[in-house]
Amino acid sequence: MKTASIFISALFIVVSLPAFGQNALEIVKKADEKMKGNSSRAEMTIEIVRPKWTREMSMTSWAKGDDYSIILIQSPARDKGTVFLKRDKEIWNWVPSIERNIKLPPSMMMQSWMGTDFTNDDLVKQSSIVTDYEHKYLKDSTVAGFPCYVIELIPKADAAVVWGKIKLWIDKEEYMQLRTEFYDEDGFLINIMTGDEVKTFDGKKLPSRMEMIPVEKPGQKTVIIYNDMEFEIDIADNFFTTQNMKRLK
């Protein structure tokens, strides 16, 4: 009897392994869809943490599909009304204090966005965790009490991707990305992004607090706190135009 059960469970493991292999892509796909939705609006606070100082900004963002998004800075007062528009691979920046709309040139893409640990390029990056990577299920793990799949992403040969490897922790129930580790081509850990304080926004369960931690810079991180989110909002394509940037409030 005992031998039989061991045999059965062993068989089960053997059978289930390839099944997970096939599922890795499915899991990532679900997680990706969960984050994006078709269109969305979010109120958020971004905190830049540095060893000697911190800075807090609040902003509203709108997004539609992969190609369009707008970010409107609400505070601090000095930057209020500043707008970033992403259209395809372009970023436009409306600065109300000088009444200018400037398209960021390629040379600015690798520079920090608003002083955060994100680059301008991070905002427009076209690489997709679904189509640009090969996915492999590694193991199960738990992040902050949520049972997670750990999935390894290796960029496809022809994908324009800066990372050598990405590890994703996706929770089993809601497909939330709770932890992401970014490795360079030599296998060194560069950035860690974590998600916690799960809340329900517009019927979707999502981590409301994200932290971006550059591993090589101690005492430094960027925290994004989502205060409110709506999904599947009714928004026209012409909302995402350079003309509209100046009218946003």
Binding site: I48, R78, I98, R100, K103, P105, Q111
Partner: protein, 406 residues
């Protein structure tokens, strides 16, 4: 001693033609070698001056760690205490407080990354002579808020005096730096690298733009020359209270130092080869001299002249002819080198372009640094001494009869 010298001198002029030819070969070698080294050293001076001296200064003070990272976190206050502790060496004439940062410049829908420098208009007028570089439009008037733009940048972005230039970037502690300014003038810089990127703002406006009120991130110490600069930097670095780095131009521009070192070694190799040729020339002259005088040596030894003294006379002959040649060479080289200081050689078009890429004035200028000439004289003297050993060896075993019979 004087007697030997006189003897040697007379011997030298017994064969005037040979002596003259040897002198001439040394003379021209010294001229060539000094001129080459003088051109090289002059070029280095030119490079150091264009890269470091003219505008960025031979010594800079930053908050500790700034130069490594060049981020906007390294601002400091130019306080009286800091000024006092920097003045201690007595070598620093003037302090030029500045803000140096990067921003995106935009005009007529052209954008370009630029270096934005906030300066004290009155101070820079007196000490870095920024106002003299303005060749279109005019320099900052007192209390006026406007910008001066490098010629290269102005050309690239098609900016003329009176146009509006927008600066967009990041300021102190991640504030947004955005400003819109009238272009007051266009400035010329020896270094095209700077010319292509540079934008000047009055310091107070730069502090507002970058949100760093009352702060600076770069303090230039004006000293007399490059050498004093390094001396002051070494003396002050780590010695002043507070968390600062004091950097001399050698630390600020290590690439420049490397380039100079490599090039200088190249010069030495060339010099070595040339002097090897000259050394064998001198050696040949001496062998001839000794062969011709074997009979004479035999007679002298026979009548009781000490071999050592005889060898010594020959040694003096070699030494005198060499050093005389070197001295004449230096006398000849000095005016030539001096001429190229007054009238530097302009590079041909292609080389000029390359030089400009390195950020230097595209001319070949010499220097009359005494060390260069001293170097030549020393090398020749050493060669003479080494060759002068030969008569001692050759004459030590000489036999009067054999010599006379040869």
């Amino acid at each position: 001693m004087m007697f030997y010298f006189r003897l040697a001198w007379r011997n030298l002029w017994r064969n005037k033609r040979r002596t003259a030819i040897t002198l001439a070969s040394i003379f021209f070698a010294v001229i060539l070698s000094s001129l080459m080294m003088s051109l090289k050293e002059g070029t280095y001076e030119n490079m150091i001056k264009t890269t470091a001296g003219d505008f960025s200064g031979f010594v800079q003070v930053h908050a500790d760690g700034y130069w490594e990272e060049k981020t906007m976190d390294y601002f400091f206050e130019f306080s009286e205490e800091l000024k006092d502790s920097l003045s201690d060496t007595g070598e620093v004439d003037v302090f030029l407080p500045r803000i140096e940062s990067f921003a995106l410049a935009e005009a007529h829908a052209n954008t370009k990354g630029s270096i934005v420098i906030g300066i004290d208009p009155e101070l820079e007028k007196t000490y870095s002579k920024l106002d003299e570089r303005v060749f279109e439009g005019s320099y900052f008037a007192k209390g006026e808020i406007s910008v001066l733009v490098g010629k290269g940048l102005a050309d690239y972005m098609e900016i003329a005096v009176g146009d509006t230039l927008v600066l967009l970037g990041q300021g102190y502690r991640a504030v947004t730096a955005a400003g819109k300014y009238a272009v007051k003038g266009i400035v010329k810089f020896g270094s095209p690298e700077l010319s292509k990127q540079i934008v000047f703002l009055p310091l107070e406006e730069a502090q507002r733009l970058f949100g760093a009120y009352g702060l600076i991130n770069n303090l230039v110490l004006k000293v007399d020359d490059a050498e004093t600069g390094m001396k002051v930097a070494h003396k002050l670095d780590g010695e002043i209270p507070g968390s600062y780095e004091v950097m001399g131009w050698e630390d600020l521009y290590p690439d420049l130092v490397n380039m100079i070192e490599t090039d200088r070694v190249e010069g030495y190799v060339f010099m070595f080869i040339m002097y090897m040729v000259i050394a064998f020339g001198i050696f040949g002259t001496m062998l001839m001299m000794m062969a011709e005088r074997r009979h004479e040596f035999g007679v002298l030894i026979a009548i009781g002249m000490k071999r050592l003294k005889l060898a010594f006379v020959v040694f003096i002959e070699v030494f005198v002819i060499s050093v005389l040649g070197a001295m004449l060479g230096i006398l000849g080289a000095y005016p030539v080198c001096y001429y190229f200081i007054l009238f530097p050689i302009r590079y041909g078009e292609n080389v000029a372009k390359m030089a400009e890429e390195f950020g230097m004035e595209p001319v070949l200028r010499t220097t009359v640094e005494p060390a260069i000439f001293l170097q030549q004289a020393t090398v020749i003297a050493i060669i003479a001494i080494i060759i002068g050993i030969y008569p001692f060896i050759s004459l030590s075993g000489a036999n009067a009869v054999d010599e006379m019979n040869s």
